[in-house]
Subunit: 786 residues, 2 copies
């Protein structure tokens, strides 16, 4: 294939390198006003009064808007992808420290930022709840008295609790007979693993511009991963038809999940409606911290194994702290929840996954969509069990790993899951078997206070299913083409990859294909740019739209030459007839032939949707819960300083089964990027709270990986088990390398020191404490032996 | 039909009334530079030198570019829709006073306008030619030594002359046996009619912005009627694939033909490429005059009639002064040329239509595309003949008017031409028959020096054929929709009308349909917005794209309920099942049912092209030369002041057969607007030249109709003879009322005074002179009788 499988340079690289690529942050419109948001200073309370009079006196302030003002408008007050629980501006209750309660609209951003300090908001404080387990208990303070599921959440209505609980979704999976399984087990292991909240921190903050145009249509330019959703949700808020809302997304400076669904778009749209001028809201980086986080989790896991190394039962209790608003938390609770037992063939599984409101910052999608939190737990326990039982942990995995045709805990038969190949790649690349044999023989790789050791982990994620991607491809008269798709190029290189798919089908060089950026007026519906779904879903839509064009050309040419369309092919910008090279004509000639003039265009279109069998609400069982699954694994060699507790990563291997790498260089970049992002999660990133106030909500106090945190050596390995329905066999890759980093490091720490830390991140303090506990334990064991 | 045939208010009216509608003139881009063009001061010459050094010294001037600079670039130097004869900037010859020879790029428009005065251009003057008949002669100075037909003009290659002639196209039509026809005639009439050049003068000047984007793509925003053509022609000039050129057109402040094809777009694109910054060129109104004109014509017509009132032979010699560059003149020469014998069933016809280069301002399309010049001649001669023969001129027309099934001079059998109905509507509305009877009885309606009288005229035009219109319609999940079309809303209300067609098919109110403005990245190919073609061509594309959506919905619903799709219909935003009202579901429900969630979209698309039989190059005969024909007619009552020669229009009736009025109010507006525009052409508009210099090229000296020139009473009459292939039966209307105004006024002048002026416009001076000649003639006849 001349285009697919080639590491084409990104089509936008020049624009980005030269600083000319279009971002919403750089947008200016004539007469544009600027917004600053006032945020709640209490974690839970009722708004008593908001005095805006002083702020409104400040020169350059156009208007100060509160939730009470919005109540006088004919709009819906709440939005949200799962539950419509989040107000455009709080008007009754505030639910966390950071909750938007008023907005200043001013001539400049500086005036707005100043004026917001002159608003006086007064609250009646309510008892808050911050701990996810406490919040899930009966009698806890209730964050939301009423739950309003969004229309798209109707399929989960059976999983919604009675009102008056912070548990806003309880997902259940029942596979096999858990009690019977545990009865068959020779050993039962029970552990609890915790992860903290963390933040995404794309380089570009949330930013949006809204403008009511002359025909009353609302135009929104936003740094968002889900333009189609923004359109429908803003249409809902404004009570307008979707055709009256136009959402455009240029390049995105990173997303990682924080730019999914409505974040600031409903507010800017409503404010543009009020002032009838263009308005812009760009969050300060400090506000990004308190807009959305990764779910903190508590995962209680009980696993029964037999003496011959088989897992026969696993019981999972997962608590997701979704914060003050559900955002997409309920879907994470469900869709990542069902993977909690791991990528293993376990006959008896029970999962209870709870989405729990608290008065913390809202939590939502974060690269991996909850799966890394689960993998960290189940892959830590795999090594705990293996160590206790004296088994090679990789062999223990090999014994039950899901392979082709085996049945997942959801009831789905596995197709195209190269988990076994990933295990072998990890083993080979990190030289695990040799390490483990040496280790068993008593070798310790020590250098002063530092000890080196290795660890591995694998994970599996289901792609978002069901979902929808539409595409249009237009072939121009000169044989060049444009691709319309609502996939957001947020740095992952989707424009290039989508262009490659169209170019391959049409026999064009990539340079002749233009990819139109998301614009809901023209680019067809796409669920979201997330969940490692775009290559498969949108790739298929583009593939089939391009094939629609190809078929129209073939129909003409086969008629013209009276040859079967099966003999025709597109390559080198030409239509070829097998065995008749003299009949080859350029695409340009073919189009001229179709239209009898050098003009016209050929349009192809396709709306791709997944097959899906809605799972049984009581058992979570379905034969077809995900259109594809994608596995990843990580192997690391670390060095831990036993005097400081600091972990250095010497070597990191990320392996992922991507089906088919459309653009191998980009796939390597995705694997590497996801893994590096996880290093921060594993070693030092966490949101710290004091009575609901995030106390490290800035780039000085919240640490992200820098160059010196990178592994000494990094490897990314592409495994290709083609998916029968993937475009050219491709699956997804955006999240693949995020799964195994945390447990692989934790497992290596164990191999190095015997220490286990059951809560992320593995900070030097926690590691040192755990090492000392192990040392004390060993000392006490030795003393007892004496 | 709930939407079609309804006079919906224009969807853009609010934006236009409030001054918020988007026009290129209002566009600003960060860092945008401004252009002013230096123009040739000689009508014909070779460029000896252009000294830009002084201009380049002026602060704020970024660069001065000449044709010689462009020769160093890897671009094509010439563009043009018929012949590529027009240089981006003149580099060798200049061909008229006004020919662009250099461009100043400066920080502000004022600096550019100032700096252009400091450029010193030196020419070697060549002998010019200004008169179309002189220019057509052998031995005339040659304007273009070489002719380069554009690719789309290949069909006319047989009509191209040898090089070394100013006749750049000679179109021939031969129908029947002309000699035999004249031999059968009892009387032969020979007349010559002239029309001058005139200008379009839309309220908005030519204006375009070009920006090379970060990925090297050329973005052009232009006030132009032909975005698809601009894309392909600029791609040709820049030697880039079409996918690398993006052309967007917002609302247009009028076009009338002057904004067709490349005018300033190639220049702004090349300059943007040079300076790598956004550039804007807005012509001054004075430059609009010397950018494009209406073709001046000389029409020599010889007609043979029998004593029983039948025209048996007509010989037409039409000379079109296409000025210094051909623009679309060759197509006018051909496609309007073939209508020169009028809408009559004449057995023996010969037409020779000559497109002739001169050193005047280039001429191109002007509302009516040459047909008004022809109708003015043939309908004047109809009345001349009738008067001479003593026939009622309307009866004379009735006798040979083309009706259903009769054969046009091109050989095509007429379908859907309501000419006879138009004659009756004119007769009825102006009370012609009563007037003519009174007139025959000797009545003269005199009031002081003023005489009142009536006149009529009819005309027929073929729509541009072949041509292409593509459309995409996208139905959103909430049952609202968007229509993508490259038709430019230039004031004719196309957005509203196109939206109505989609709304009708989809059973939506118009308010739920958005029309996406031309953007060549997304709106499919469309030949041009001109030629009264959009309702039929684009209307059909939209109709069929919407039906594509309808069929997808019906396929689903018929499967769901196991009912025949023929029982299904869309209305009131619902799918209805005939006889089963309980099964009706909203579109929103149907889409949810298709996608199993309240999301997704349904895409419909269609590329409509006309059937067409290329005419024989020697005879112009074809069975299928136009996909439809559209007739119009005018009746007037005028009052002419015999002391001043001034004509006032008391009553004007414009009747047009539009097939079906999609939006009757807009159709009335089109009829009225075209007729009013013709009043100027008839009574006072003309471009005056002095040795190639247009001497009235400004709004002070060039007169256009004002409110006081409007008829005392205006009527517009819609005739509807549905076209079997038109969308809902519709044909076109944009030019219909332009045909008959000039001859109807001339014929009324004759009825009032017996005077004939055989050259347009009918200025008071010319009218007075003609009246005096008649009076002198009568006096001398009376004297002879005495």
């Amino acid at each position: 294939m001349p285009v697919i499988g080639q590491s084409h340079r990104r089509i936008e690289s020049k624009g980005k390198i030269t600083g000319q690529a279009e971002y919403v942050m750089n947008m200016e419109l004539p007469g544009m006003l600027h917004i600053k948001v006032l945020r709640s200073t209490v974690p839970h309370g009722r708004i008593k009064s908001i005095d805006t009079s002083a702020a409104e006196q400040i020169p350059g302030v156009i208007k100060v808007v509160t939730g009470a003002d919005l109540q006088n408008m004919d709009i819906h007050m709440h939005y949200g992808p799962a539950f419509r629980d989040q107000p455009v501006l709080a008007f009754d209750k505030v639910c966390y420290i950071g909750d938007p309660v008023a907005a200043v609209i001013a001539e400049t951003a500086a005036i707005a930022a100043d004026a917001v300090n002159y608003i006086n908001a007064d609250y009646e404080e309510l008892e808050p709840v911050f701990d996810v387990l406490e919040a899930a208990k009966e009698g806890a303070p209730i964050v939301h008295e009423v739950i309003r599921p969004a229309g798209s959440f109707a399929d989960l209505k059976n999983l919604l609790p009675k009102e008056g609980s912070n548990v806003c979704l309880h997902y259940k999976l029942r596979h096999g007979d858990l009690e019977k399984g545990f009865a068959e087990a020779d050993h039962i292991f029970e552990d609890t693993f915790r992860t903290p909240a963390a933040v995404h921190l794309p380089m570009e903050q949330h930013v949006a511009v809204a403008q009511l145009d002359s025909n009353g249509r609302m135009n929104i330019w936003t740094a968002n991963q889900s333009p189609s959703f923004i359109r429908s949700e803003v249409a809902y808020v404004l009570k307008k038809p979707e055709s009256q809302i136009r959402v455009r997304v240029p390049y995105l400076g990173g997303g990682f999940g924080t730019k999914l669904y409505v974040k600031i778009e409903a507010l800017v749209a409503v404010l543009a409606l009020i002032v009838k001028k263009p308005v812009k809201l760009a969050l300060a980086m400090e506000e990004v911290f308190i807009t959305l986080t990764k779910h903190a989790t508590v995962f209680k896991m009980r696993t029964g194994v037999t003496n011959d190394g088989r897992i026969v039962a696993r019981d999972c209790q997962v608590y997701w702290d979704t914060g003050a608003y559900a955002d997409i938390g309920p879907r994470i609770t469900q869709k990542s929840g069902f993977t909690a037992a791991g990528p293993y063939d376990i006959p008896n599984v029970s999962i209870d996954s709870y989405c729990v409101y608290t008065n913390n910052v809202p939590a939502g999608a974060f690269r991996g969509f909850g799966v890394p939190q689960l993998v960290w737990a189940y892959e830590s326990q795999m090594d705990i069990i293996a160590a206790k039982m004296g088994w090679d942990p990789l062999d223990f995995r090999r014994k039950q790993v899901l392979t082709e045709g085996k049945i997942h805990a959801t009831g789905q038969k596995m197709t195209s899951v190269g988990l076994d190949q990933i295990i072998e790649e990890l083993d080979r690349s990190i030289e695990w078997t040799a390490f483990y044999k040496e280790k068993q023989a008593g070798a310790i790789h020590r250098s002063g206070s530092k000890i080196r050791a290795k660890g591995t982990a694998i994970g599996l994620k289901a792609v978002l299913t069901p979902s929808i991607s539409g595409s249009i491809v237009n072939l121009f008269a000169d044989g060049s083409a444009s691709v319309f798709c609502s996939t957001v190029d947020m740095g992952q290189g989707s424009d290039t990859m989508m262009g490659q798919i169209a170019a391959e089908v049409l026999g064009l060089p990539l340079e002749k294909v233009t990819v139109v950026h998301p614009d809901t007026d023209v680019t067809p519906y796409d669920t979201i740019t997330a969940a490692s779904r775009s290559t498969f879903y949108m790739g298929n839509a583009i593939l089939k739209a391009a094939e629609d064009i190809r078929d129209q050309i073939f129909a003409h040419v086969s008629g013209k030459y009276d040859v079967s369309a099966e003999l025709l092919s597109l390559a080198d910008e030409k239509v070829h007839v097998a065995g008749r090279p003299e009949l080859a004509m350029t695409l340009k000639e073919a189009i001229k032939d179709i239209f009898h003039m050098p003009a016209g265009c050929i349009i192809g279109k396709y709306v791709f949707e997944s097959h899906y069998q809605s799972p049984d609400p009581e058992t979570g069982q379905s034969e077809d819960v995900a259109i594809f699954w994608f596995p990843g694994g990580t192997a690391v060699e670390i060095e831990v300083d036993t005097e400081t507790g600091k972990i250095d990563i010497l070597h990191m291997v990320s392996a992922g089964d991507v089906g088919k790498a459309i653009n191998p260089f980009q796939v390597h970049q995705q694997l590497y990027g996801a893994a590096v992002m996880q290093i921060g999660q594993a070693l030092f990133e966490e949101c710290r709270y004091d009575y609901g106030q995030m106390i490290n909500a800035n780039m000085a106090d919240y640490k992200v990986p820098t160059f010196k945190d990178l592994p000494g050596k990094s490897e990314t390995i592409i495994v290709e088990v083609p998916h029968p329905e993937g475009p050219f066999g491709a699956k997804g890759v955006g999240e693949t390398a995020s799964f195994g980093v945390q447990p692989a490091i934790a497992n290596a720490l164990y191999q190095a020191t015997g220490a286990r830390v059951n809560s992320m991140p593995l900070t030097p303090e926690k590691v040192l404490r755990a090492i000392r506990e192990v040392q004390q334990q060993r000392t006490s064991e030795l003393q007892q032996q004496i």
